[in-house]
């Protein structure tokens, strides 16, 4: 058993351990200087080394609920998480390695969790006898902790690339982006600490004619997400039953499912409770023909799966084929551009009891118009049974990774929107028009309005039945202003928005019958003020008034985040954050402080102390759940 062995140590000791570690890292930090090129086989090779370390300790995050193991299993744990990136650049070729390791120096104890739940157990009719309750909670906690807080060191990414004017070759971990993400897209999203690649090979060839150019790309490999979620301490484990043949090579050295006192090794990932990931094999190709500003492309991907670990209609498919054709006019005589992509998708299930879904369809259109100071952008979509290529994750065992996917159909919504619930984007029609008007050099205003009809948000509707009963009507609007100082050192962006999401389905409540709906009004702002000398003030906030009749608290509630920081150039930053929520299901206030010191342009150290609200964070339709955090985190980034 590889579980961390100490549990529930006195908190004071952890405080001192944290201080000791911080001092050790600072004391041993090397003098920062660029690495000089090294001669390899007579040719200069430049090395770039970046090391990022995080030391964090999580105390009670105040989310504890009666009888719920998971709300105690995320308290009182500490982690040292290190990411070492080494890049060698030999001109036409590059080689790189990212080595991740997570060490958990403190973690919760399953027996203590079961005892704590038993002691705080509310008196309710229909409850089980105390010994039965304790045994059940002990087992539940044991299983819950069996794939959390486990120490791992693994090669998160490695690659070799060669580039010449006509040919690009990548072996190892490669990124892919075909079209606008309907068919295949694997990229790094720093905002969400997400970095999913294809571990295999990518070949790109370029042919240039007199009036046209042709670019072809082919990729093949297995999906490779980051395996440790530092926010929850959960990891993705594979076992040999899901890594046959080629996958045994791509999964060499990666975290494995482990047997514990609570989880026996069954030899089959489907029933091995710490086996939470089975890599999919993905093949893709794209051909892109360009003539001046016009570009015509066709792209396709095929996802092959041997052992589905979840039974939903997408993850249980053993083959998902997706193809699209796109046409882009990047320049409409200097007045904008346009992009159109039409895609089809077929899901094949080996299980004969799963009904065959009709072919999925997607149409995405984007038009932008430039007319002097006015810029218009229209994005529209029409999706029917069009699903993201969800990774083969066991949502039961590693739900923190449940949003991992190899494609991201465009949402056409503002990047930060996090209220497109459930299967919103799989069966939807609608679009959004945004206009930006520059009133002067220092003032511009913008506004948008989006309208969507979705048929898979408030009901499960994989087959995409379009009817009044399954429909939600969504109106999303916003208006904002951007201000800049004449010297461009200060700027401010403030906006107000609303979202109304209604269905016709009645919902009985304590106060009578209403409809299933969601409403929101909000204001967002971000700004930087130059205060003179080396000082500037930074402000960032998002304040929302929300009402969700189903899935929310029932009554309207307010929530918001405000971050105020002072930058003392070139080294120091100090910030204080405050969050609040009137949702009775979560604590009312959160306070935190942050201190940062830049050692150089690429190296820095920062300390976060306090509380952070749990939230679903989305960037352009890619979302990730961040649990509430309370404690301290020290980050150190060094680049050589």
């Amino acid at each position: 058993m590889r579980r961390s062995r100490n549990h529930n140590l006195p908190r004071t000791r952890n405080v001192w351990l944290g201080r000791a570690l911080a001092l050790a890292i600072l004391g041993s930090a090397p003098k920062l200087s660029a690495l000089e090129p090294v001669t390899v086989f007579g040719k200069p090779v430049a090395f770039d080394v970046t090391n990022t370390s995080t030391l964090s300790y999580n105390v009670d995050n105040r989310d504890t609920r009666p009888n719920q193991v998971s709300t105690l299993a995320n308290d009182d744990w500490g982690m040292f998480y290190n990411r070492l990136n080494v890049l060698a650049n030999g001109g036409s070729w590059q080689a790189g390695l990212r080595l991740d390791n997570a060490w958990f120096f403190d973690s919760p104890n399953p027996t203590q969790i079961a005892l704590d739940l038993w002691q705080s157990r509310p008196e309710t009719p229909g409850g089980a006898p105390a010994p039965v309750y304790f045994r059940q909670k002990l087992n539940e906690a044991g299983v819950e902790l069996s794939n959390r807080y486990i120490n791992w060191m693994y090669p998160a990414k490695y690659y070799f690339t060669y580039a010449s004017p006509g040919l690009e070759l990548g072996v190892g971990d490669v990124y892919v982006a075909f079209g606008r993400g309907l068919v295949l897209t694997l990229r790094k999203l720093d905002e969400l600490a997400s970095d999913t690649t294809l571990r295999g090979a990518r070949v790109t060839g370029r042919f240039r004619g007199k009036d046209f150019s042709l670019r072809t790309t082919a990729v093949a490999g297995s999906l490779n997400p980051l395996r440790v979620d530092p926010a929850s301490g959960r990891y993705l484990g594979v076992d040999s039953s899901v890594t046959p043949g080629f996958l045994a090579i791509t999964e060499a050295g990666m975290p494995r499912a482990i047997a514990t006192d609570f989880v026996p090794d069954t030899g089959d990932c489907k029933t091995f409770a710490t086996c939470s990931y089975a890599p999919d094999r993905i093949f893709g190709a794209q051909a892109e023909l360009s003539h001046k500003s016009a570009k015509l492309a066709v792209q396709a991907s095929q996802l092959l799966r041997t052992t589905p670990l979840s039974n939903d209609v997408v993850r249980s498919a053993d083959r998902i084929s997706t193809g699209s054709a796109s046409f882009e006019l990047a320049d409409l005589a200097g007045h904008g551009g346009a992009y159109l992509e039409v895609a089809l998708q077929d899901l094949h299930h080996a299980d004969p009891t799963t009904p065959k879904l009709p072919l999925g369809q997607a149409v995405y259109l984007s038009v932008n118009v430039l007319a002097g100071p006015l810029t218009l952008l229209f994005e529209g979509k029409h999706y029917r049974r069009f699903f993201p290529l969800l990774a083969n994750i066991s949502t039961l065992r590693a739900r923190e990774f449940s949003l991992l996917a190899a494609s991201a159909p465009p949402t056409t919504e503002a990047l930060f929107i996090d209220t497109a619930y459930e299967g919103f984007n799989t069966c939807v029609s609608g679009g959004r028009l945004r206009g930006d008007l520059a009133l002067s050099r220092i003032v511009s205003v913008y506004s948008w309005a989006g309208y969507y009809q979705t048929f898979a948000e408030s009901v499960a509707n994989e087959s995409c039945e379009v009817s009044k009963e399954t429909r939600n009507r969504v109106l999303d609007t916003a208006v904002g202003v951007e201000l800049r100082s004449r010297d461009r050192r200060s700027k401010m962006d403030i906006s107000f928005g609303s979202r109304a999401d209604d269905s016709d389905r009645p919902l009985p409540t304590d106060h009578g019958t209403t409809n299933v709906f969601y409403r929101e009004v909000y204001t967002r702002h971000t700004g930087t003020w130059f205060l003179g000398g080396p000082f500037s003030l930074e402000l960032q906030g998002w304040h929302r008034r929300r009402h969700q009749t189903l899935g929310g608290p029932g009554e309207p509630w307010s929530e918001g985040d405000e971050l105020v920081g002072v930058d003392y150039a070139p080294h120091w930053t100090v910030a204080a954050g405050f969050s609040y929520s009137t949702n009775p299901a979560v604590p009312p206030t959160y306070v935190n402080g942050q201190l940062g010191y830049r050692l150089s342009s690429d190296s820095s150290i920062s300390l976060f102390v306090g509380q952070r609200r749990g939230a679903l964070r989305c960037v352009g339709g890619v979302c990730r759940v961040f649990p509430p955090f309370e404690g301290a985190a020290l980050d150190l980034t060094l680049r050589f």
Partner: protein, 223 residues
Amino acid sequence: MTRLARLIRPLARVWWSCLSVASCFTLLACGSNTPKIPPELLATGGCNSPNYPTGPFGTEEGDTLADACFQGFKDPSKGSHSESSLQTIAFADYYDPSGSKGYQLILINTAAVWCSACRSEHEGLTEKNREYGPRGLRILSTLFQDAHGDPATMRDLTAWVETFDSNYAMVLDPDYQLGDFARAETAPLNLIVDARTMKIEKKLLGDQATVIWPFIDASLAQP
């Protein structure tokens, strides 16, 4: 060689500091602090029926389902929904090794008042029970949390069965005894169990009507 040394030295420093600190943590981590379990929690027992299959039990597909007991209504469409009408209902009640009870499959489902997918699922469950009940399907649903994520109460159970006009067994599970199968946040959980062996045939999270009902249909069609 000098250049290589320049490359390796800073790396070595960083790693040495990381490893040495980690070693300190590992050393400090040793030692036993296992919490003591009060004797009253170590008693055996529960609701195991003498006629129920023996273990080993498990929570995955292919495993045998362990017995569990609840308080609830066997058929809420008949009789009152008061506390005095509550009955003890166990998984063992649905165990039918010889087929003498006419039970072939059991659909065990979890529900919570806050869970929109659970509500959506229960909107059609009464009709499905009418359709598949005569063919040998029994449905048992456990209500485990209220609208705020607190343990479900008698009031929640009564409101639930009246809202959805339930005609299948609906029980209270305030302790969330089915937590071994799935975390509360992932509700609804659906287990399709073979009544002749109490083996879990299918385990699904969420409202998966597209998958559940064709599977049940195909399973009931088998002799």
